[in-house]
């Protein structure tokens, strides 16, 4: 079975379903996530792996804690392909960015509901 984009049950455990708290957490996640994604994008064009790996690791941790299983799994995959070179990194970045975008759509829909 493929991992879910977002496990809302996990989030509800922490927020007890309080919509204001959910919004606060989601806003914080996306503001940190946007920054990490930008770092990742900039690190794509470099052979220097440290920044790239650190950014992916951070995103993986945040996503897993949020309950964003698909994005977290994708980040694990990216971590294991650390020696892939610039072309591989760019392709992986595109996958991560697409997953992040899908997640943000779900998060925004939740806030709007």
């Amino acid at each position: 079975m493929s991992p879910v984009v977002m496990d809302w049950d996990r989030m509800v455990l922490f927020t007890d379903g309080d919509p204001d708290e959910e919004k606060e957490l989601i806003d914080l996640f996306t503001s940190c996530g946007d920054e990490i994604l930008l770092t990742l994008q900039q690190a794509c064009g470099s052979f220097h792996n440290d920044i790239w790996l650190e950014a992916v690791h951070k995103l993986k941790g945040s996503a897993a804690n949020l309950g964003a299983e698909h994005l977290a799994n994708l980040c694990t995959e990216v971590e294991s392909a650390k020696n892939g070179g610039i072309a591989v990194k760019r392709a992986l970045f595109d996958k991560v960015a697409a997953a992040y975008k899908d997640l943000c759509i779900q998060l925004a829909a939740r806030i709007a509901a």
């Binding site: 996990r10 455990l13 922490f14 007890d16 940190c32 941790g61 945040s62 897993a64 804690n65 949020l66």
Partner: protein
């Protein structure tokens, strides 16, 4: 208004600001006398300064601490005193680096002290014309390379006492990712029952100042390794109830943490139940529970 009146009014504002800072710090620390890091930068010795020089200093210092954490005082002779319960030597170094493009190298005219401050000493400090008043136990400039905060016996010795006397529970979360930190802290509905730190250095400062009942400590921190923070805290507070957090859930990391004195280990992603379970296991929280002040947390399934 005469110049003398204006100057008197300015000094009163300065003293009032510093005293408010002192009162807030004392209240937060639950001790009778605040122990503060005091940085003195002798701007009076600079031959030329721009009209906005003091505003520039304040702007640079605001990166180190918020208004709640510190206070910047311009003395009558233009020397600047920075008071903070949290700023560390490393933070002070960063402040000097930020000021260097504006004022050049300020190290020669800067000194960092650690002073037990009470209200009269503070008043003298603000209005003094020459040097910082000599206070017993004051610590003149030490090696700049020391990155961990210098902690006084007073604060360390009272740690256990302050924790047991406090009625409300206090849980500290140390994690460099702001989202994950906030998520963990949401286990406790009252934000006032939580402390949050993003670096190892601020974790130690915050721990010693506030004496929490349990500390959740991430191993991967940007400045100091979580294991080192654990060792440092246990040296200061051997009874500390520390639970380590890490995405590296390997046996070696867990064993190392437990051998060093951690009371538990949570692999990431953490769960609500795991966090709650450790909070309930803390003997300091349990002691508060028997006094009827258990944190307002609910079992959620």
């Amino acid at each position: 208004m005469s110049d003398a009146c204006r100057e008197k009014e300015r000094m009163n504002i300065i003293i009032e600001k510093a005293e408010r800072f002192l009162v807030d710090t004392l209240a937060r620390s639950e001790i009778d006398q605040a122990l503060l890091l005091v940085a003195m930068i002798k701007f009076s010795s600079l031959p030329e300064k721009s009209e906005t020089w003091f505003e520039d200093v304040c702007a640079a210092a605001s990166a180190n601490f918020s208004n709640a954490d510190g206070s910047i005082i311009r003395r009558e002779n233009d020397d600047v005193v920075v008071l903070s319960a949290h700023v560390t030597r490393k933070g002070f170094d960063q402040l000097l680096e930020r000021l260097a493009p504006l004022f050049g190298n300020l190290r020669e005219i800067s000194t960092l002290y650690e002073l037990p401050l009470d209200a009269p000493t503070l008043r003298e400090l603000c209005i003094g014309k020459d040097s910082i008043p000599v206070v017993e136990n004051s610590l003149p400039q030490t090696e700049q390379s020391v990155s961990l905060p210098f902690l006084s016996d007073l604060v360390v010795k009272t740690l256990s006492d302050r924790r047991s006397k406090r009625h409300s529970p206090l849980v500290q979360f140390v994690e460099d990712d702001p989202f994950s930190r906030k998520l963990m802290a949401s286990v406790l509905p009252n934000e006032s029952d939580t402390l949050q730190s993003g670096t190892g250095q601020s974790a130690i400062d915050t721990y010693v100042t506030n004496a929490p009942d349990i500390l959740f400590l991430d191993i991967g921190l940007p400045d100091i390794d979580g294991q080192q923070v654990l060792e440092h805290i246990l040296k200061l507070d051997p009874q500390a109830y520390v639970v380590m957090l890490s995405s590296r859930g390997d046996r070696e990391t867990i064993v190392k943490s437990i051998e060093a004195g951690a009371k538990g280990f949570i692999g990431k992603p953490f769960t609500y139940q795991k966090l709650l379970s450790y909070i309930q296991k803390s003997p300091f929280i349990q002691a508060k529970e028997t006094r009827g002040s258990f944190p307002n947390v609910k079992e959620r399934t």
